[in-house]
Symmetry: C2
Subunit: 107 residues, 2 copies
């Protein structure tokens, strides 16, 4: 078999970075709530992800801000363009996991 | 704002599980090589992901086998239906990261 050219990709495994952000506990849920619910104050966001403690939610939002995925303006958290652009990927992985990950595998 | 219904989703954060598998170092690259190159012997696979040591490659392949994403038959590693079904998600996240993750952010 001919060797596949993976050099460019493997030199910079950008998508591992992306999956690492998205795979972090609660991030998918937080992004989902922002995508579906639009800009929200902290208290609304906290209501929409009631399983997450305020402390952890603050932490995650700060990380997502640092990644340029979420921004906070006039006390409203909203997705940036980079964040909004994640919708297709989130839906795609969600569909895959709904189809293939069994409830027993959920932790 | 009306409260968003996230109960079903949040009860079983399946897609965190999916992202965790995909975000693990080298898994994206291994899947990419299997998607593009088709079924391969270990030595071919190792040639196509030369940055990964044999020890780590064996480890990752075993994990992917346990997850039902890769299967080994007559010494050929191939993607299962569950694995092949990941293509859309991989492409989508790859496109996103190509657009949004800067080279400086790659580790």
């Amino acid at each position: 078999m001919e060797q596949i050219k993976v050099t460019e990709f493997s030199l910079c495994p950008k998508f591992e970075k992306a999956f690492t952000i998205l795979g972090k506990k609660w991030n998918g849920l937080i992004l989902d709530v922002l995508l579906e619910g639009g800009p929200q104050r902290f208290v609304e966001l906290a209501n929409n992800v009631p399983e997450v403690s305020d402390r952890v939610l603050v932490e995650r939002l700060r990380e997502l801000e640092r990644e340029g995925i979420v921004t906070k303006e006039s006390n409203l958290y909203r997705l940036t363009e980079k964040g909004t652009d994640l919708e297709k990927s989130l839906i795609s992985v969600k569909n895959w996991s709904e189809k293939w990950i069994t409830p027993e595998e959920c932790s």
